[in-house]
Symmetry: C2
Subunit: 200 residues, 2 copies
């Protein structure tokens, strides 16, 4: 069978192959591939994707979009007074300044942030979290924490430590190849079954 149904004779969903099947196909089509590496990369990407979908759904229930939440997070991470320029925001979120201009427009309209020219340097603009924005962030944070705890539920403390360590080392490796990479160029399309390599 092509996909997950395999044998159950169900409605035969043409969904996506399981990770194992995917790796097997890659081995057949491209023998030089390392199955273990491919498994890791595929799982990483698919996991990321699924979590993203879950976040989107739950945030929608809160009345905010994923895009808005990104901005809220960036502002909170900036620390009090939860204030950042559009340019900084754009860099941190991996967007162009132009996109950030529009995104902030919407968020100002929704009352999540305010926009004001800087007093001391009139080239600059300050985007600042409102009380409502901070509340929304908190709500989303609580929700996310619950979900994340659920995802990691089957892992023991040792495993969590190991996982955190391994991921951190991988991150160091990637970042060393990628000078500073504030993050332009982020296609960030989708990959469903193909994450084998793409979204990593």
């Amino acid at each position: 069978m092509t996909s997950t149904s395999g044998d159950a004779a169900g409605p035969a969903l043409p969904a996506e192959p399981a990770i194992d099947e995917q790796v097997a196909i890659y081995q057949r089509e491209f023998p030089e591939v390392d199955p273990q590496v491919e498994t890791i990369v595929s799982a990483l990407s698919r996991l990321n994707r699924r979590m993203h979908v879950a976040y989107s759904r739950q945030l929608a229930a809160l009345g905010i979009t994923n895009a808005e939440w990104e901005v809220l997070k960036a502002l909170v991470l900036a620390g009090k007074p939860y204030r950042l320029g559009p340019g900084d925001l754009a860099k941190r979120l991996g967007l162009t300044p132009a996109a950030m201009t529009h995104r902030v427009d919407r968020m100002v309209g929704d009352g999540l942030v305010t926009r004001a020219r800087d007093e001391t340097n009139r080239v600059r603009v300050n985007i600042e979290l409102t009380g409502e924005g901070r509340t929304k962030w908190l709500d989303a944070m609580r929700m996310a924490a619950t979900f994340e705890a659920d995802v990691l539920q089957d892992l023991g403390g040792d495993e969590r430590g190991t996982l955190a360590g391994i991921l951190t080392r991988m991150l160091v490796r990637v970042e060393s190849d990628q000078p500073d990479a504030g993050g332009r160029l982020v296609d960030l399309d989708q990959d469903d079954q193909s994450e084998g390599t793409t979204s990593g």
Copy 2:
């Protein structure tokens, strides 16, 4: 300094906080957070993002976009004769059929795939890999394999096995919450430092 530079007195890049700093801030702003969970989730997301950027760059050197590569992968994974309908492709890539129509248009123009109505069922359309498409896929695959090996370079065989196992279990957990989730709703924005929770 706000971010990574910290003390080096460099050009003071306003990049993004290191994972550790990020988690520390979250602890301060939202004490209920579990630092270990947050570290894992943040690292996962950031790793994914960085890898995605790297793929995009390298694919550009090959003359194809990330979007195109997704389609090539899906077709190869479908097995010979490397043929799938627009609808199936859309499901697997997490796009709407409308988007797939346009994406296929471009790829037909580039000679990577062909589009033809199905002989036996004239509602259906077959998108099929061309020789050039398959060649491009192979080139990209080789490139990706090299990069992925580099990312995992610091990990021993044991660690790789452990990692693969843990990720697979996490994936199972997420997918159980998320019925089948072919994948609509995928906002898939960006998150830079904020991946703390969002892109997962």
